[in-house]
């Protein structure tokens, strides 16, 4: 009997990193350990100096990521009780687009004493949203010049992505900008730390770095944005691309000391949390739409056709696995809308009822909402409290609820919000289908999976069977699957995913009666969606009026 082999997957999240030891032949998760980032997210000040961070800023300290290699990895190996010599590869996934400004040797600028008190020298977390003006200009100039890549991103480049974040540095702190040798995805920086080589992963480069058909935006385009930005791609961004599931290099002596793993171990090319989860769920076939549902929802799906789908986040060749067009879409608010409701809209009476029964307010409301038949509450809502990522790509949009009467309860409104997010998913699915990109199955992962009412509502609203991701730490498992492929244990990622990943097929089936009733309700949602999305500027006007600037400028 052959000795079992293992890979390690490390999922770098927003507040912590989790390392999982996985058995290569069947994907069994042996043990895991978590490292909570010492500095969490910097939103007000830096660890050094007295700079105050403006609102919408979100920075991180890269050494926190490095520390996870030193703590969580050896701890997970120890807990798993496996011999480090039986570990055959290591893989990672990261939040994205999280960016680190580094010198030529990979040292983050914030680790240099000269830059330790400069906010722009730190890692910029995905949700650092202050470069919105830069993103607006990128989109306006690209639309104006009819840049061919714009439609690959549903017509809109996000303030979260590589170009907007870099342009912000140039325009706010040119010293830092000029000191940057490489503008690196954290997903690739951590791999660089492990194997000593900088390899740019195809996923981030495509979705966040505007690399399409092997080309970045042109020098002319960059000049039009800002003459000082003309050389950005050539001097700071472009770098050899690594395919997902390939090895970026081998574990260095230093990283071997940190992790307690053997020198020379294959290290997989960096990757992104949502995208590796598709491997963990073994849903890499065309038409399998994976929805990772948490505070927001990220949708990823492979297809063998290239289409320009309105309002998609992006389509990237090999963006999820080599050989397919990887599509990404998203809903900017899902779980955070439910949390907002719980915190702001639930009366004391219901909160007390939950306390008396020793259950959460979420569970209490879910129970009350589950007791209703479809449509009984007479409500329909728009799930745009945090804007609309797909298919309208407009973060100025906001929430709506229609149909309240004096008999409307908070459970009614809660259920209406659950449903609104399901309608949002159906809108995305229908937009794919209408654009010629088939969707055949919905697979759900993420924290909201545990709400069974929500899952049934999604199955009934979308009218498709709903599969669920089995692993509770799916991104780390996905990273371990990529590690197994990079180590040569499998021919490619889909082959590894078949053995190591998994999902529960048809965990929820649409109820025929409910599907019919939701068709009627969804038709109302569509009317609201189109009117508020395209038919008027009410939400934009309300936002404008709400800004302090408007007060002075009024009339």
């Amino acid at each position: 009997m052959q000795q079992a082999k293992y890979t390690i997957g490390i999922d770098f999240g927003t507040l912590s990193a989790r390392a999982v030891v996985v058995r290569v032949d069947d994907g069994h998760e042996m043990a895991s350990a978590e490292h909570v980032y010492e500095h969490a997210v910097l939103t007000r000040s830096l660890p050094v100096g007295d700079a105050r961070l403006p609102s919408e800023w979100a920075l991180q300290v890269p050494s926190d990521y490095r520390n996870a290699l030193k703590t969580a990895v050896p701890q997970a190996v120890k807990l798993a009780g496996v011999d480090p010599g039986d570990v055959i590869g290591i893989g990672t996934d990261f939040t994205s687009c999280t960016m680190v400004p580094v010198r030529a040797d990979g040292t983050p600028l914030c680790e240099l004493p000269a830059f330790a008190d400069r906010p722009h020298a730190y890692a910029k977390l995905w949700r650092h949203h202050s470069p919105q003006p830069q993103a607006d200009r990128i989109n306006a100039v690209a639309a104006d010049r009819n840049e061919p890549w714009l439609k690959r991103y549903g017509g809109s480049i996000s303030s979260e992505w590589e170009f907007a974040k870099a342009l912000e540095i140039l325009e706010q702190d040119p010293d830092v900008y000029h000191a940057i040798d490489h503008w690196v995805e954290a997903a690739d920086w951590i791999v660089w730390q492990l194997c000593g080589r900088y390899v740019r992963n195809a996923c981030s480069a495509g979705y966040k770095g505007i690399l399409q058909d092997g080309r970045y935006p042109t020098r002319d385009f960059l000049t039009a944005l800002n003459p000082g930005f003309a050389d950005f791609v050539g001097t700071k961004l472009a770098h050899p691309i690594g395919h997902l599931g390939h090895a970026a290099g081998a574990l260095t002596e230093q990283a071997a000391r940190w992790t307690g793993l053997p020198v020379g171990l294959p290290v997989a090319v960096g990757n992104v949390d949502a995208h590796v989860t598709a491997a963990a769920a073994n849903c890499l076939e065309p038409g399998q739409l994976l929805a990772i549902m948490g505070t927001s929802t990220c949708h990823v799906m492979n297809s063998d056709v290239l289409q320009e789908v309105p309002g998609m986040c992006g389509v990237v060749d090999g963006g999820i696995v080599n050989g397919y067009w990887g599509y990404e879409a998203g809903q900017s608010g899902v779980g955070d809308i439910f949390s907002w409701f719980i915190n702001n809209c639930v009366p004391a009476s219901v909160a007390e009822q939950a306390r008396d029964r020793n259950i959460s307010v979420h569970d209490m409301l879910t129970e009350l909402a589950a007791d209703q038949r479809v449509g009984e509450h007479g409500l329909v809502a728009l799930d745009w409290h945090s804007g609309n990522r797909s298919v309208l790509v407009d973060h100025q949009l906001s929430g709506v609820i229609v149909g309240q009467t004096l008999a409307t309860t908070c459970a009614d409104m809660y259920r209406a919000l659950l449903e609104a997010t399901a309608y949002g998913t159906r809108m995305i699915v229908e937009t794919f289908v209408d654009s010629g990109v088939p969707v055949r199955e919905i697979i759900v992962g993420g924290g909201l999976l545990k709400n069974r009412l929500l899952m049934q509502i999604y199955a009934d609203v979308v009218g498709l069977p709903l599969s669920t991701v089995d692993s509770a730490q799916a991104p780390a498992l996905g990273a371990a699957i990529h590690a197994a492929t990079a180590a040569g244990a499998y021919h490619d990622v889909p082959a590894a995913a078949k053995q190591m990943g998994g999902r529960t097929r048809g965990a929820y089936s649409p109820n025929v009666d409910n599907v019919a009733r939701y068709d009627d309700l969804y038709a109302q949602y569509v009317k609201l969606h189109n009117w508020f999305g395209h038919g008027n500027a009410i939400m934009r006007t309300l936002r404008e009026i709400s800004t302090p600037a408007h007060q002075g400028a009024s009339r």
Copy 2:
């Protein structure tokens, strides 16, 4: 020095009656006393028998009204310390349209043992809403036949009014219907109890009894509704009309015993609570719009022009005072929307804050809302939680709130609802003006007067100075003013109102900056108003889907 003279006004409300003793020369309120109705509102069962009342039913027991004459009146006189011999007249006002089915001598059917267990034999309170199907047929048949009176009611006869309530009896309990000799407004029934004569007041007959230009709906029309209803007007409804402020008769010996007042005292023609308040506020000139703001809002205004204003409740010749066209409009939900919000949408944290400070949740939210500048919350709402009386006349409509984000607080939403009701008032004012009926001043009475933030919002939204009614028991004062006129102390009601009534002119002045900002917000409200009111059937469809019937019938 002449001995001061007094009149007594009695305001019959939904749950109690209040008698006030008023000095005739200056309207000073000497004292008042309240009588709480023993049976309050019957919504589930009768005092006799085991009949169960269906939902939307609301009955009352007429002897409760009679008891107020025996208790509140003598008590108020005693508290005032006046000699009953110095009381020169008595007047009343009543909720409307509250109807009493009686025999020829005025005895309510429910007081006859044979009918005491029959729900339809009781008084039907204004908010008895079950005759909606009858009202729907009245409107459909009237529209179909192009009945000339329909436009005098903004195109719609209410389920609350005399015809729908009577037709319901015919169709549900013909025995009771056939036993009715007179179908009497409670406003007139109480006057009948005082003076022994049945006089039908011009206000109720016009607004609720479809008496226009001296004519009721024709026999042909009634036959088209139901052949058994053909003689309704001739046999049960029509009766000599008394003008407002005239005497209906003199106090009988029996009523003198009940009240402790002199036999032969002039008794004023019956009247309606909202309409007498215009006298109490001394706002009887054309263009003075009185808004009585409580759970709902009733607007009354005199004009010297007759126009068919879309969506008005009614226009009646002499409906408020003789010699003017009296207009009535309304908002079906105002204070009850705020109460619904307080009960269903305020988180425990805010409720606790209010408790700690020993103030009401209303006051707590008002304080938080008052702290914001106009438009800061980024919201706009439609105030249709209880339907829309004016100008859309559609009780299938429902509430909407637009603009919620993850930063929206409950104080934001509360303020948005306050504003929504102000936009509703502005819509009514603009509809009057656009139809050629000028509005020059807004006068506010009713329980919501005490919310100073709300008042300032109304002044800023409507852009007119806002006067406030001085008296805290304005309807009873208004009734006393009518009593003084009926007693001959004044030539007519306006002359009496000038001396006895009053308002604080310009209690709230529009803030110029806020007016400008509210113009922008109101423009958004108008877009929502027109789209949800005329542009789509979303709210109607949601209601339809919400009914249990839809479940069976689905698809």
